[in-house]
């Protein structure tokens, strides 16, 4: 035990006693931990012990990378698969694909995050509505969200779309990418860790000139 603790000094800490369990659960559930809201204490713990055994712990016992990334000078942490493997997360029900609708909304939010470089990253439902109804790609958005293009949509159709987006945002909140200020009114803040999606899809984003290559097959998933 003494020997183990010298490799994983975080195990001896008071912070670990208090926060390791919750941090561990959060990371394994795909959450991105940053210095924000309720995750502040978990962030302090990970930030302090990242180089003091915590990173090695996940590598040795789970074959996973505990990654530290930085966006706009703010750090965030998450678990990531090593190259060519999925570590102990390779078995069924321990990983999931980022669904297509999540990806599209993730990229939209990342774009808004970058656009709001000089201000707070708060988004109101009205702002999203404006993008879908009056934005540059309004037809594409409407086709995608409502399934058809119409001058006006019924309250039922509007509610269905709003619910769909609320569900996606709730999913993003679980991942630590956004934080609801008022969930009912869809008022939320985009958090620094939305940057992860740019890391996840960095190869394609930096290869936009060859985008066509990724959409060769018209058959849908």
């Amino acid at each position: 035990m003494e020997n183990e603790n010298s490799i994983y000094p975080f195990l001896n800490s008071e912070l670990a006693r208090k926060y390791f369990a919750n941090t561990d659960f959060a990371l394994k559930q795909g959450r991105h931990i940053q210095d924000y809201g309720n995750d502040h204490k978990l962030f302090v713990f990970v930030d302090e012990y990242y180089d003091k055994g915590l990173q090695t712990y996940y590598e040795n016992f789970f074959g996973m990378k505990l990654k530290r990334e930085e966006a706009d000078r703010y750090r965030y942490y998450f678990l990531h698969f090593p190259e060519d493997s999925k570590g102990k997360f390779g078995v069924e029900n321990r990983s999931k694909e980022l669904e297509d609708d999540r990806l599209i909304f993730g990229i939209l939010l990342l774009n808004l995050y970058k656009e709001k470089f000089f201000e707070k990253k708060e988004i109101l439902w009205q702002e999203l509505e404006q993008i879908f109804k009056e934005g540059e790609h309004k037809e594409l958005w409407q086709q995608l969200l409502y399934g058809k293009l119409k001058p006006n949509y019924s309250p039922g159709e509007e509610a269905e779309v709003k619910n769909k987006i609320a569900k996606i945002l709730k999913n993003f909140e679980d991942l630590g990418w956004v934080c609801f200020i008022n969930q009912e009114e869809i008022h939320f803040e985009i958090l620094t860790s939305i940057d992860r999606i740019s890391k996840l899809y960095g190869d394609i984003i930096n290869d936009v000139e060859n985008l066509k290559a990724y959409f060769t097959n018209e058959q849908l998933s």
Partner: protein, 444 residues
């Protein structure tokens, strides 16, 4: 009753608002000319027509403005015609003058823009402790004539400041667009603008101090107005109104301050990474557009082509999945298909089973019979019984089963003895051969 006002406005809407850009400019232009002394307060029809021509020139309109039509539309709410001696003069209404002031203050608040908010506070909210707190009447005078007037100005100042900050931030967004010439110079210019805004932010802090100071003075004066309930209630109501207003202003000032701080900080860090940020933003927009173009809504589900590479993230689900509650009333009852009956096969199987059953029944009967014989002390010579059984049953299955049953019975019953002599006995029928077999009871 509340709808009455809506009804009135909807009826007079086209008259109470200037009907066109030309009309609005004309009213503002007339007001400016009066303020400068270029025309009299009660101006002539000629002045009015010249003002219309000025506006047409300003707007570089090819065709003339229809003077009569315009004049008719404005005559109700914006000006009135008065007889003066033998001629008629025109005068702007109070409504028209207030309307102009509102527009000008909102669009071009030059004076306010160059003043810090603290100046508005100090100018509009002076509180003389000796005089203003002398009695409830003097305090009410201060409240009505200083505070209520100042309220509008202070609110207006914060609104304008907020708008100014917002518009500067919007301009900053342009920096993230590509192909900007003299980028460094542009950023430097913005830095100057935001330094100025930062100064205003510092001014905001002193405004907050001044506001708190005024509020504290009022709170401390409470004892002076406690002589009777009526006076105290009057004072208390005014104090609460002031408090609520200051709280509102406090929140506004903090929000503006925060916006200025975030933008200034970002601006300082921008130059190093700007090129990369611009390129990344362009790529991101192209990527989003490609996703939107290639995704489809299939029965409410958003899907991308199968060729698009999906990325995975660790996801250890720790929640129990709730089993969906299915209302079977919503489902059609599917009746199972009845198998086709092969009658010949069915009859054959039935006969076979009946035959087996009969053999078992007869075997049991013969075993009982032989068992009774043994109990009475008789010796059983099986070759004799075999012939009997074969003759009665007319098959070999029953005697064979009986033989097997007898041997099993001897094994279980210690009071029975089986003797087999390896001497072949030929049965009379069926070409059957067997050894001599005797069973007897050993009980004395």
């Amino acid at each position: 009753m509340e709808q009455d006002i809506l009804l009135s406005i909807s009826r007079t809407y086209s008259e109470v608002m200037p009907p066109s850009k030309e009309a609005l400019l004309l009213i503002v232009w007339l007001k400016q000319k009066i303020d400068k002394g270029d025309i009299e307060e009660e101006f002539t029809t000629r002045d009015f027509e010249e003002a219309i021509e000025d506006i047409a020139d300003f707007l570089q309109l090819d065709k003339n403005i229809q003077k009569e039509t315009l004049s008719k539309k404005l005559s109700g709410y914006f000006y009135e015609t008065l007889p003066k001696g033998k001629e008629y003069r025109i005068q702007l209404t109070i409504f028209a003058k207030d309307f102009c002031k509102l527009i000008v203050d909102r669009i071009e608040p030059e004076i306010i823009q160059h003043l810090e908010l603290i100046h508005t506070f100090k100018r509009t909210l002076p509180l003389d402790e000796e005089k203003d707190f002398e009695s409830i009447a003097t305090f009410k005078h201060w409240f009505d004539n200083h505070f209520l007037t100042a309220q509008k100005q202070i609110l207006s100042h914060t609104e304008i400041l907020n708008q100014k900050v917002e518009s500067r931030i919007n301009e900053l967004r342009a920096l993230l667009k590509p192909n900007i010439v003299n980028l460094k110079e542009l950023i430097n210019n913005f830095e100057i603008i935001f330094d100025d805004l930062a100064k205003q932010a510092t001014g905001l802090a002193s405004t907050l101090d001044f506001k708190n100071e005024t509020l504290n003075k009022i709170k401390l004066a409470k004892d002076r107005f406690s002589q009777d309930v009526e006076t105290f209630n009057q004072f208390d109501k005014m104090q609460r109104d002031i408090d609520t207003f200051f709280q509102n202003i406090g929140r506004r000032i903090s929000a503006i301050n925060e916006k200025i701080q975030i933008a200034s900080k970002r601006l300082r860090n921008l130059l190093d990474t700007l090129r990369h940020k611009q390129q990344f933003k362009i790529n991101l927009e192209k990527f989003l557009q490609a996703l939107l173009l290639n995704a489809k809504n299939v029965k409410g589900e958003i899907l991308l082509p199968i060729s698009f590479p999906r990325k995975e993230i660790p996801f250890l689900q720790s929640k129990f999945i709730s089993i969906p509650k299915i209302d079977f009333k919503l489902f059609n009852l599917a009746k199972p298909e009845r198998p086709e009956l092969n009658k010949a096969h069915y009859q054959k199987q039935k006969d076979k089973n009946l035959s087996m059953l009969k053999i078992q029944e007869q075997t049991a009967k013969w075993l009982d019979k032989i068992g009774d014989e043994i109990k009475t002390g008789n010796k059983i010579y099986f070759e004799e019984w075999l012939n009997k059984i074969v003759e009665t049953e007319n098959n070999l299955e029953v005697p064979i089963q009986v033989c097997y049953g007898l041997i099993q019975g001897v094994k279980k019953d210690k009071d029975q003895k089986l003797t087999i002599e390896k001497e072949t006995v030929s049965a009379s029928k069926n070409d059957l051969q067997l050894w001599k077999m005797k069973i007897q009871s050993t009980r004395s």
